[in-house]
């Protein structure tokens, strides 16, 4: 009797502890989703090469967090932008660190993105059925470069200002759409107060939103299609098959060839 009460008590205790999780799972399926994400199988020979993508994601998260903090102190106004950045760097507690991490995190993010793309290219991981994910990745790269371009103006020092003048002029040289694009970026005929506010809005709302969406799609496709095994993988999957040796005619001396339709695979 005593043991059964003990058992039922521990059972009910466990039930109480997991109740919130069960509640969430029943209503959203999120717990199952997380379990699927964590315990999905990846090829046995994935290694350090496969960490470049998640490293890029980490750098992006650093940009998101430091960017939110910077936005609390930054003033997107031609008269006070430069001063507010100086204030962040010199007066705000650890402000220099947050700004430094945002500034250098951008470079690290872009380097990692190029390295990740190089790895995917050399592994041939853009091939069927992952073509769409390669395209999404290229779009992420282009969007992130645009994010770097718009962020460069915000400290509003000489380098920032004149580099942006040139960047907008370059946009303006594009055929047909160029002049309109340049005028949209400038927010008028000349670079002025509207340009800074516009770049700020693009840099912290429009482009990060697009990046979050694209990265979400990118990750969804990674989980759905699975991680590519390295090209040196012992398994022959995802490769051009070896040319089949010409089967000799069966005769008295040589054994009959393998049954038609069965392909030889080294792993089998």
């Amino acid at each position: 009797m005593a043991t059964t009460t003990k058992q039922s008590r521990s059972q009910s205790l466990a039930k109480t502890a997991t109740y919130p999780l069960d509640w969430l799972e029943e209503r959203s399926g999120l717990i199952g989703g997380v379990r699927y994400f964590l315990f999905r199988k990846v090829p046995g020979d994935t290694g350090w090469w496969h960490t470049l993508g998640s490293a890029t994601l980490t750098a992006f998260l650093v940009q998101l967090i430091t960017g939110v903090i910077l936005a609390m102190y930054y003033k997107p106004d031609v008269n006070s932008a430069h001063e507010s950045v100086q204030h962040i760097t010199n007066d705000v507690w650890a402000g220099w660190l947050v700004r430094g991490m945002h500034r250098w995190g951008a470079s690290v993010f872009i380097i990692l993105m190029f390295m990740h793309m190089g790895r995917v290219f050399l592994f041939g991981a853009y091939k069927y059925p992952r073509e769409l994910n390669w395209i999404v990745g290229v779009l992420i790269l282009a969007t992130a470069l645009f994010e770097g371009l718009t962020g460069y103006l915000l400290p509003f020092d000489q380098t920032a200002y004149w580099a942006t003048v040139v960047a907008i002029n370059i946009n303006g040289t594009a055929p047909f759409v160029g002049p309109y694009l340049a005028s949209i970026l400038r927010g008028g005929a000349e670079i002025g107060p509207d340009t800074l506010a516009r770049f700020y809005s693009i840099h912290m709302l429009l482009v990060p939103g697009a990046l979050i969406g694209l990265i979400g799609l990118h990750l969804y496709l990674v989980v759905r299609l699975g991680v590519t095994s390295p090209p040196w993988s012992k398994d022959a999957a995802d490769r051009e098959p070896e040319p089949e040796p010409v089967a000799p005619r069966s005769g008295l001396v040589q054994p009959a060839p393998r049954a038609a339709g069965v392909r030889r695979r080294p792993s089998e």
Partner: protein, 268 residues
């Protein structure tokens, strides 16, 4: 080239193989990812610390912030962030007015399109590098050309007006025009108007597009009127010259510049 059916079969085989021989993402792959992400964050923090604590000294990572943006300056040489250096240097290669659009819009657009269509061009299933010579050559060419262009962009000698101006007293001494007020005024204009972005003068400036060294321009004795006419419209005097016209400087300024050029007889 393999048919879609073969590629489908290959992916099916991959999925079965991962199911059989794969390992769960957590904890195996996630361990690698976590370590790599920590390294990334440490690198970003490390860069910020180096940036902050060398700002008063060597400034290996540049200053914390430059002077406030001043739309009034005309001589500030713009510089983008380092990951745009390769595009920035393309601008210097395609500097002639008719070809600028190649560097600003043409080449970046072509690169983006090439990246986007890559998975539809390379339809083979083969992923081993030893059997993808075209991919290896393409990757090597891309890395080398981007690297060289970035390096050239980073080390490009852009003449900053203030630095050029600092050299004027030594020019006057070497050329012997220290007492010629008109020539000194011309030398200042020469430094401010961006002439040294293409021409060299006694070791200052950078030679671009085959623009000649002007240290001994006066020894050709072409005359002040010729110099003025040439400055007003270089291609009228010298058909095919890529040098832009400087008529906007005004008659008095052009006369001072011409006097300076004629006084430059070469170092004595």
């Amino acid at each position: 080239m393999s048919s879609l059916d073969e590629r489908r079969a290959g992916f099916q085989h991959y999925k079965e193989n991962v199911k059989r021989n794969g390992k769960p993402f957590y904890p195996f792959a996630m361990f690698h990812d976590t370590v790599m992400s920590l390294v990334v964050v440490c690198v970003i923090v490390g860069l910020s610390i180096i940036w902050k604590y060398t700002a008063d000294g060597s400034q290996i990572l540049g200053p914390l912030i430059g002077d406030k943006a001043d739309p009034g300056t005309i001589s500030f040489v713009p510089r983008p962030d380092w990951y745009f250096y390769f595009l920035f240097y393309l601008l210097r290669i395609f500097k002639w007015p008719e070809t600028v659009i190649l560097a600003t819009v043409g080449i970046p657009t072509i690169l983006l399109i090439l990246l986007l269509i890559l998975p539809f061009v390379d339809l083979r299933r083969e992923r081993r590098l030893s059997r993808r010579p075209v991919a290896i050559v393409a990757a090597a060419l891309t890395i080398v050309s981007m690297g060289v262009l970035t390096y050239k962009g980073a080390t490009a000698q852009e003449a900053i007006a203030a630095e050029v101006k600092a050299a004027i007293p030594s020019w006057a001494k070497k050329q012997g025009f220290a007492n010629n007020q008109e020539a000194l005024k011309g030398a200042n204009l020469f430094a401010e108007s961006g002439c040294t972005n293409c021409h060299t003068y006694l070791g200052t400036g950078s030679s671009n597009l085959g623009a000649p060294d002007l240290s001994a321009e006066g020894s050709k004795n072409k005359g002040i009127q010729f110099q003025i006419d040439h400055l007003k419209c270089p291609s009228c005097v010298n058909p095919g010259s890529p040098m832009p016209p400087f008529a906007a400087l005004g008659e008095t300024n052009l006369k001072a510049l011409a006097t300076f050029l004629e006084a430059s007889k070469g170092p004595q």
